[in-house]
Subunit: 433 residues, 2 copies
């Protein structure tokens, strides 16, 4: 083992993952967490629910000299769920019934059954959950988040962390696994990476690559001394810079060089998302929305944040002409003259949302999500936005958004989020026709 | 090798994949294609761009006795792109320059550069692309879809198919790889699998496991003779049954046994999704929605289907009391007396949606998504639904939905979809108080 280098392998089990019916979220998630801790992930292996394949994958990772192995899945009560048994054999530790864990699982199942009004067959369930309470001798069991406990199993020179498959169970269990003595001992040998995340909107990814080359050539920064990954994520650019202690100055020079080159597009230097920023800016306001092509996606996004009811009044999702008239008071003559997708109708929708919701800030979105409905003048992807304050000032923009129906709908909601940020951040550039 | 069983392993290369920056689309895609051909995929391995890790993954798959190995990625012109070289070494075949391929790549790059207005440094590009034109002796090169050729490399008892990383290049190259003699010879030994997909709603996954045991014990069906995977997907159970020719009767007996045990919960026998079913049922209708806790998620789901504007009028997303009064005409007195989350308000919201949208079918959702706002009587997750036709008949139900805010919101939209299916399918069981 290189000093300071701790290597890990991840094994994701599940026939539904290997057949592509479910996308694996756990491998990449665990890999990212390990990278933050300075651990080098060498392999992510997806195996079907066949015991031999899992066992061989573990043997392979052991032969590759991994210090840490993380598994996900195969902890359920069914016959297919064999991870505990196989890891126990791999570690050479016999399985023993953990009576305390058995009681915990039974209590959880009883509660689940009662809140869902399901008849609870105590004997059958105890039979099934007994298997989940079997723990390899000398291993540490982690309390269930759902119904399956996790495990931390010392196996010779390495440690195996056994986690459940559902991400909502795996993710909360992760810090618990990290806090065990066995995992801490492994991680203590790794040099942690520091990191920062920047976000930009409205700049192509290729421009960032170009800027990085400039930062190297013009600013004389040794860009390769730090780890930089840029990725296009839901229409925004996420730039991740990671460094070890000694190259901190380089990392900050990269950040500053990027901001200097893209001041208008950089909206976050601390990883804060647009949703978090807009939620903060909306405090003390009252927001009403008027949506056509985004059809509720903006409302859903705004209300994804707990506590949104403090500032969110509602959204009039109006697909038909009649709904735009009835719910938002858009004049029929305007709809007929300008068409439902027009800057004028967007403005009238925003005005309607301000009035009907008694709001002091409103955003309207109307566009052509496709695949049908486009014309030469107004192609598929043409979307009109109007973000407006009660005093009449605001920002109106049109865009032709590329991509398919899903892209156009989601991107519409994203553009509206950025308009809200700009509007509530004090920028008013009324381009309303 | 078992007669008729051909096993495959997939190796996905790329640091951006292993770090979770990019979700791997290739492993699952290739795996699904192979399953359709009757090939059993044992492992999908993701490795970083480190030559040793890739070589060891290939050695592992060879040791596991795979008949076919498919790799994706690492075919670019940069120093990191080492897949061709490593597969050549793995197969024991020296690399040789394929002059014809070199000329093809040069022509492609020249065309790219000219259409994008990039200055084309012929010498540098020839230097870089030479590497991409190196083919292991005795292997077959596959014409590039982008700029990287693929390879089909015989390696002892097995065949390695080497494909580029970008899905838009990999996917069109796949049929070309299948058509090569070497791959055809491997696939000829596989027996294709047949499959069916069933969907259920409102039954826990554990009940399916129990029913399968009963089908074995009571109906005398050899359940293990076919491949059954059940998975919980967005709140529904998806059951996938796969079989080879000779066990077709078993597969159908499994299907029939499950339907007999869960007649009310089985809503799809042919893989059709609830969204597709509801879209069909809505044809000729006019739908209006009234959403509170789901906050546009139901509208977004309904309109995800192209052509939804034929039957979808809109959704009044009403978070505040005032919005419920103003947009849906819910009486203030009713809101104050019963509370915004109550069967009575749900009914008034549905009635309001029928009227305001001029609809003949409406669904209302009002609930407590949390994390705050719950009481002993109306806990977080308590949601009232009212699905109503213009003639006043309908279905009203209350549920306490488990999980976090996201789960409760999404599940609310799902419950509403199933109410729409039942209502439009002719089931009217007015339980309105």
């Amino acid at each position: 083992m290189k000093a300071g280098v701790v290597r890990a392998g991840i094994v994701v089990t599940g026939t539904e993952v290997i057949t592509g019916r479910i996308a694996d979220a756990n491998g990449p998630w665990v890999s990212e967490r390990l990278a933050e801790l300075g651990v080098e992930v060498a392999h992510i292996i997806v195996v079907a629910d066949r015991p031999d394949d899992l066992e061989h994958a573990l043997d392979f990772l052991a032969a590759e000299g991994m210090d840490l192995i993380v598994t996900s899945g195969g902890l359920g009560p069914t016959a297919d769920d064999l991870t505990g048994e196989i890891v126990a054999r791999f570690a050479g530790r016999p399985l023993e019934l953990d009576a305390e864990m058995e009681a915990k699982i039974a209590a959880i199942l009883r509660r689940f059954a009662s809140t869902r009004g399901i008849k609870f067959d105590e004997a059958a369930v105890m039979e099934a959950n007994r298997k989940q309470a079997m723990v390899p001798a000398g291993a540490e069991a982690l309390d269930p988040v759902g119904t399956a406990p996790g495990l931390v199993v010392p196996a010779g020179e390495r440690v195996v962390v056994v986690l459940p498959g559902p991400p909502r169970e795996l993710q909360p269990m992760w810090p618990v696994a990290l806090a065990t003595d066995a995992v801490r001992a492994v991680l203590a040998r790794a040099t942690p990476l520091h990191g920062l995340t920047m976000r930009m909107f409205g700049v192509p990814e290729s421009e960032i690559a170009k800027s990085l080359r400039e930062i190297e050539a013009q600013d004389g920064v040794d860009v390769d001394a730090v780890e930089i990954t840029t990725c296009l994520r839901r229409g925004e650019i996420e730039i991740d810079v990671r460094w070890r202690e000694e190259t901190e100055a380089t990392a900050l020079a990269v950040r500053d060089g990027l901001v200097r080159r893209h001041p208008g597009e950089t909206f976050s230097l601390d990883g804060e998302t647009i949703d978090e920023q807009v939620a903060k800016l909306l405090r003390g306001h009252r927001l009403g929305l008027a949506e056509s092509c985004s059809a509720g996606l903006l409302a859903a996004r705004i209300t994804d944040v707990p506590g949104a009811s403090d500032y969110f009044a509602g959204s009039a999702v109006t697909y038909s002409y009649e709904a735009k008239e009835e719910l938002l008071g858009v004049p029929k003559a305007l709809l007929e003259e300008k068409g439902a997708v027009s800057p004028e109708v967007a403005a009238a929708m925003a005005q309607g949302a301000l009035e009907r919701f008694g709001a002091d800030v409103a955003v309207a979105i109307t566009g052509i999500a496709g695949p049908g409905g486009g014309t030469a003048e107004k192609p598929v992807g043409y979307v009109c936005f109007d973000a407006r304050l009660a005093d009449g000032t605001g920002i109106a923009v049109d865009r032709v958004i590329p991509g398919d129906r899903t892209d156009i709908r989601e991107r519409s909601a994203l553009v509206a989020m950025h308009l809200l940020r700009r509007l509530l951040g004090g920028e008013v550039s009324d381009s309303r026709p």
